[in-house]
Structure formats: structure tokens, C-alpha cells
């Protein structure tokens, strides 16, 4: 028998006992549905995290902070429950992060480390501001400021463009579309090109110093940059100068964080971290941050996967049972096929193909149902009051052939393995006894 004939016959035989076949397919369907949904969710989260992590820089990027005496370091990058809305300014608010200063000596040592790419070290003289004031409605807000430390950094933008560190103008990117609204603009597009005043209250004279800056972009929601306002180095330098006006020269040069790129192809993160530890610095890499976020999503994914595999296990038992019954019912047919010259291998194959077809139909329908439901959830989550409306660029579930096809193929392989015992039983049947079977 040709393979194509075996496949056609197997498919035909499957639907001889429709109820039994459909129930078996249903069990596989549930397993496939869970697993496809899981892998699509994983893909959705991964692509979201990839987008988000671009805001942190390339793979080799490492951020360093002065080590605290008590060793209880808080990462400068906080994963907070994201709201997107700006915080109102009330008198007396500060923007202290409580970081330990890094000495020029330490920076020199970092530059000399073999794993650190020379010239990539950027000392973050981060500035701060008392508040920002809208030129439209006069509202005041407290931003947390962020610098685009590296050209490989890419923020996911809703509108506008990236800031230019080489520009002589003061430029900024708003943290979210909510900021645009609170500043009195109709939407994120409306805010582009408008001016935002950065106000620094002189601690000695109590005078207010104002730096107007141009809004060049609005960020998409991000869990990594945590809703901070990105300013260009031009504005940062001006603010920093004002911030440190009364400090002695030694204090002025103090920095709290430095960023650098390390040779990630030659050195592991741990090697770099232990070297930095000797200098008295703690370091955070992209992987550290990803790890925190992923462990949160892993819980959900694990639950789904376990459900999927339990359902699939039940489905495998279903396949074995279905095939055993099929072999029993078709004993005489097997006898006839053997009498007519069909070999053992082909008999085995015809039952194995039947199981593979069961696996195929179950997993294909499961995947299809998952895709339909997933797209419905995606669009529902993004419209109106949907729970994902803050993350328009994030698809909760993402389907690609690369996530769906391996699941279908795996289930077909599992179905084949499940068929081995019944198919062997069929192939070993003696033609005469089979023909006599009542």
C-alpha cells in the first residue's frame, strides 16, 4: 500500500465510529489548546519584554552603583505597578534615590577592567529637578528623570521621535500619554513640539530657575523605565550645573551611577560582577531585570502548561483505548488485509497513521480555537476599559508558525508513541485466526 493510500484509509477509518473518534479528538483538543495558548502567551510576553528591554540598552550593557555599607542595595530600576499617571507636585518633595556616590578612583578602575570595553564607560551625572510645569495649563508635576545613556537604547514610542543627545536644544520624552493629558494636551500627538518648563528651586536663594525644553516624543507604557522622563544630555548638563552650584568642586564631580558595555562574548556576567565587587560596585544587567519580570509571568505559564500536559496525558490514554478497540473491531478486516498480501509493517503503519491523524485533528483544532480566542482576548483587552489599555503595543498572546507548528508536531509524535502497542497488536495478528474472529 502506498503511504498516501494508508493516510487516506486511516482518515476514513477514523470516522467510522464518529462519537468515539470525536471524544478522543476532544481530549487532545484540550491539551493542544492549553499548550498553544501557553506558548503564545510566552511569545507575547517575550516580544513585549524585548521591546521594553531595548529601553535599557544592548546585551552587553551593565549599570553600576556604589555598594551600600549594609549591603542592602536597591536597584535603581524598580518594577512598580504601572499607572502611567504623573505625580502632582506638593511643596517639599525631593527626588532623592538614596544612592552611594562613586569616586573618580573607582571609575578609573572600572575603565581598566579587561572585560569592560574601553571608552564605553559613561559616568551618569544625573540631574534632578524640583518640578516640571506645563506651559499649557500651568500644572506642576514631579518627574523622575532618566538619561539615554547609550545610543543602542531604544524607547518604545507612541508618538514623536527619540531625543538627540547632540542637539544644542533641551529635549525630553514624556513618560506616557497620561502625562500629555495632564499637561493639558488633547493627546500624545498634540504634545509633540510643545514646551515643558523644568523648574529648579535654588536651595539658598529660594529663587526658581526655569529651563524650557521641547517635548520630542511620548513613551509607550514600559515596566522597565518605570515611567521616567527621558531628557537629553544637553538639558541634563544644565540642570546638573544648577543642582551642584553650591557644592565644593570635589562633591560636584561625584557620580552615583555609571554605565558601561562589557564584552559579553568573552566574559560572563558573574565574572564582571565579581570584578566590580572588588572595586566596591554593584551591577545590574539586562538579564537581572528580565529575570525578575519573567519569574512573575512564569507562574501563570507553568499553571497553564501543567493543565495542558495533564489533558494530553489523558488524551494519550484515550488514543491507546480508541486504537485497541479499533484493532479489536477490525480483527477480521486485518485478517483479510493480511490474506490479500498486506505486510506486517503496513498494518502497523496504518494504525499508527490513524493515531497520528487523531493527534493532528485534535491539535490543529485546539490551536485554531486558541488562535480565535486569543485574538478576541487581545482586541477586547485593548479597547475601552480593557485591562491592557495601558499597553497598546503589547499583545497578551502572540501566534506565530514557530509557536504553533512545533506543538502540533509534538502532539502528533506523542500520538504515534501512544499507537505503538495497539498497532503492534494489529500487525502481529494471525490472518486465519483473525478471519475466524466473531
Amino acid at each position: 500500500m502506498k503511504l498516501i493510500d494508508i493516510i487516506k484509509t486511516a482518515n476514513h477509518n477514523l470516522f467510522r465510529n464518529k462519537t468515539r473518534t470525536i471524544l478522543t479528538i476532544l481530549a487532545i483538543f484540550i491539551g493542544s489548546f492549553c499548550i498553544v495558548t501557553t506558548s503564545a502567551t510566552q511569545a507575547g510576553i517575550n516580544s513585549f519584554l524585548d521591546d521594553q528591554s531595548a529601553a535599557f540598552g544592548g546585551e552587553g550593557l551593565i549599570q553600576m552603583y556604589g555598594k551600600k555599607e549594609d549591603g542592602n542595595n536597591t536597584s535603581a530600576v524598580q518594577i512598580s505597578s504601572y499607572t502611567g499617571a504623573p505625580k502632582k507636585y506638593t511643596n517639599g518633595d525631593t527626588n532623592e534615590m538614596g544612592l552611594v556616590a562613586i569616586t573618580p578612583d573607582q571609575i578609573e578602575k572600572v575603565k581598566d577592567l579587561p572585560g569592560i570595553i574601553r571608552g564605553s564607560v559613561l559616568d551618569g551625572k544625573f540631574s534632578t529637578v524640583t518640578y516640571v510645569e506645563s506651559t499649557k495649563n500651568g500644572e506642576k508635576f514631579v518627574p523622575s528623570l532618566n538619561l539615554m545613556t547609550n545610543d543602542s537604547v531604544h524607547f518604545d514610542l507612541l508618538a514623536g521621535k527619540m531625543i538627540d543627545n547632540n542637539s544644542s536644544e533641551n529635549e525630553l520624552i514624556l513618560p506616557s500619554k497620561e502625562w500629555a493629558k495632564e499637561l493639558g494636551y488633547e493627546n500624545e500627538e498634540d504634545a509633540i513640539g510643545k514646551t515643558l518648563n523644568f523648574v529648579w528651586s535654588d536651595p539658598v536663594t529660594k529663587d526658581l530657575v526655569t529651563f524650557p525644553a521641547k517635548i520630542v516624543g511620548v513613551q509607550a507604557p514600559s515596566v522597565i523605565s518605570g515611567g521616567s522622563m527621558v531628557i537629553n544630555t544637553t538639558l541634563n548638563a544644565k540642570l546638573y550645573e544648577e543642582n551642584t552650584k553650591y557644592l565644593p568642586a570635589t562633591e560636584k564631580d561625584k557620580v552615583y551611577t555609571i554605565a558601561a558595555e562589557y564584552d559579553y562574548q568573552k566574559y560572563t556576567v558573574d565574572e564582571i560582577k565579581s570584578e566590580l565587587d572588588k572595586i566596591g560596585l554593584t551591577a545590574v544587567t539586562l538579564k537581572d531585570i528580565m529575570g525578575q519580570i519573567k519569574s512573575f509571568f512564569d507562574v501563570i505559564i507553568t499553571i497553564f502548561t501543567v493543565f495542558g500536559y495533564i489533558a494530553l496525558l489523558a488524551a494519550v490514554i484515550g488514543i491507546v483505548n480508541t486504537l485497541y478497540m479499533s484493532v479489536q473491531e477490525r480483527t477480521r478486516e486485518i485478517g483479510l488485509m493480511k490474506a490479500l498480501g498486506m505486510g506486517r509493517g503496513k498494518i502497523f503503519l496504518s494504525f499508527a497513521v490513524e493515531a497520528i491523524m487523531l493527534g493532528f485533528w485534535g491539535s490543529a483544532f485546539g490551536a485554531l480555537a486558541s488562535i480565535l480566542l486569543g485574538s478576541a482576548v487581545n482586541s477586547a483587552a485593548h479597547t475601552g476599559e480593557g485591562f491592557m489599555q495601558n499597553f497598546p503595543t503589547f499583545n497578551l498572546v502572540e501566534y506565530t508558525p514557530a509557536t504553533v507548528i512545533p506543538v502540533i508536531v509534538t502532539i502528533m509524535i506523542i500520538a504515534f508513541i501512544a499507537s505503538v502497542l495497539p498497532a503492534r497488536k494489529a500487525s502481529k495478528k494471525d490472518p486465519i485466526n483473525s478471519l475466524r474472529y466473531e
Partner: protein, 254 residues
């Protein structure tokens, strides 16, 4: 004459040691091309076992079965399957059809197994169905046919591969006498016109008498082997005429 089947010292034992049962004891036999052979015996006599061994459906405990001079016990199972598929046709008492399939599908099954291309096997199946006069039923489901029609489909299936030998196991056993005669006619026509060797296993003496050779089996041994030179043209049709004549006479007597 060409020996299509030759059997030497054939013995078949079922079971082992204490429970061993010898179904066939030291059988020697040869069947020539174009013969029509009836293997007759009571149930349990070993006649079915002999047919199964001749048809290579079973392996002998001792002895040899030569098909066209080929020693079958020395063949690999793949070649054995091929030999059965190409040279044998089977007709069974219980028909053995795939009930859900169409008549055409059932008939072309041996050719499907033989890996014939789609077009060729359909053509051959149509020709075979023409011989049994069922061309009009090709698309029908096998279950929707009457007993006689089913057996005709089975004959079509048996001849679709142009076999050298047709094995028929009680071919009329499940049929009434009129339809049985029609089946018998078909089988003997194939034997006579196309020279197909016919081996019929039966306990029906009337059917056995239509063959030119009758082998009687009892307790696993051949008790008689008579070859009768008959005018094969008469056979079944003569029988039917006499049957019709008998009915006519019976009616006249009333």
C-alpha cells in the same frame, strides 16, 4: 502439465506436547494448472487447514509447499505477501467485506495493497465488476447489497489481480441454492475460460461434483483423490436446468 501447487510430506500440528493435535498428517499432493479441485471433508477433518497451507496463510510444521516450483517456506514474509497478492484470489463463506466502503473500494483493495496507480486499479476493478455483472452497483455501500451480490463482489475482488489460483472456502455456504448456482457458474466460467486453477473447500457434495477432481479428507489424511474427466461446459448450467426441470415436473404433477 504445469504443476501450480506441489505439496510434499505436509504435516501441521497445533499446540505443544500433551495438548498437541495433528490436523494434517504427511500429505503429498500436486495440483496442475487449470484444474478445478474440491477438497471435501467433515468439519474438523483438516480440509480448511490444508487450504490455509496451500494458500500460504499458514506455515506447515513439517513438509514443503511449492507454488509454481517456488519453495514457499524459504521465502521471506515480504515475498510471501507479494506472491499471495499477485497469484492468489480468495473467496470466503462470510464474504469479508469492508462494510462502510463502496463496492468499488472493496474490489480494488488487492490492487491498493499491490501499490497500483489509482487509474489502473479503478480500470481493473471496473472490468472485474463487469464480469460479475455488478457494474451498476460500483458506488453502493457494501452493506446495502444482498448476499448473492456480496459474494459476486468478493469474486470480483478475487479476480481483480488476474490470479493463477482462486481459493474458495465454502463459497455458497451462506447463499440459497439459486444464488449459489450463479456464484458457482461464475467460478467455473473463470476456470474454464481463463484457465484459472480453482480450489474449493466444501462439505457440499453437489458443489464438489462439479469439479474435475475431488480430494476427500478425514482425520488429517487424504482418503481418496479422484480425477474425473468431465465436459466442463455442462457443470453448473446442467445442474440448474435439471433443477428447473424438477420444479417443472413437480408443478405438472399437481
Amino acid at each position: 502439465m504445469n504443476k501450480v501447487i506441489e505439496v510434499k510430506n505436509l504435516t501441521k500440528t497445533y499446540g505443544k506436547k500433551a495438548t498437541a493435535f495433528t490436523a494434517l498428517k504427511n500429505i503429498n499432493l500436486s495440483i496442475n494448472e487449470g484444474e478445478s479441485v474440491a477438497i471435501v471433508g467433515k468439519s474438523g477433518s483438516g480440509k480448511s487447514t490444508l487450504m490455509h497451507l496451500l494458500a500460504l496463510l499458514d506455515k506447515p510444521t513439517k513438509g514443503e509447499v511449492l507454488i509454481d516450483g517456488i519453495e514457499s517456506t524459504k521465502l521471506k514474509s515480504r515475498d510471501l505477501n507479494k506472491l499471495r497478492n499477485e497469484r492468489f484470489g480468495f473467496v470466503f463463506q462470510q464474504f469479508f467485506m469492508n462494510a462502510g466502503d463502496t463496492v468499488l473500494e472493496n474490489v480494488l483493495l488487492p490492487l491498493k495493497i499491490a501499490k497500483l496507480p489509482r487509474g489502473k486499479r479503478k480500470k481493473a476493478a471496473m472490468e472485474a465488476l463487469k464480469i460479475v455483472d455488478l457494474e451498476s452497483k460500483t458506488k453502493n455501500k457494501a452493506t446495502d447489497l444482498s448476499g448473492g451480490q456480496k459474494q459476486r463482489v468478493c469474486i470480483a475482488r478475487a479476480i481483480v489481480n488476474n490470479p493463477r489460483i482462486i481459493f474458495a472456502d465454502e463459497p455458497t455456504g451462506n447463499l440459497d441454492s439459486a444464488t449459489g448456482d450463479k456464484i458457482t457458474d461464475l467460478l467455473f466460467n473463470l476456470n474454464k475460460k481463463q484457465g484459472v486453477t480453482l480450489i474449493i473447500v466444501t462439505h457440499d457434495e453437489d458443489l464438489a461434483k462439479l469439479c474435475n477432481r475431488i480430494i476427500r479428507i478425514s482425520d488429517g489424511t487424504i482418503i481418496s483423490d479422484q480425477t474425473v474427466r468431465k465436459d466442463l461446459k455442462k457443470t453448473a448450467s446442467i445442474k440448474r436446468e435439471t433443477e428447473a426441470a424438477r420444479v417443472k415436473k413437480a408443478n405438472e404433477r399437481k
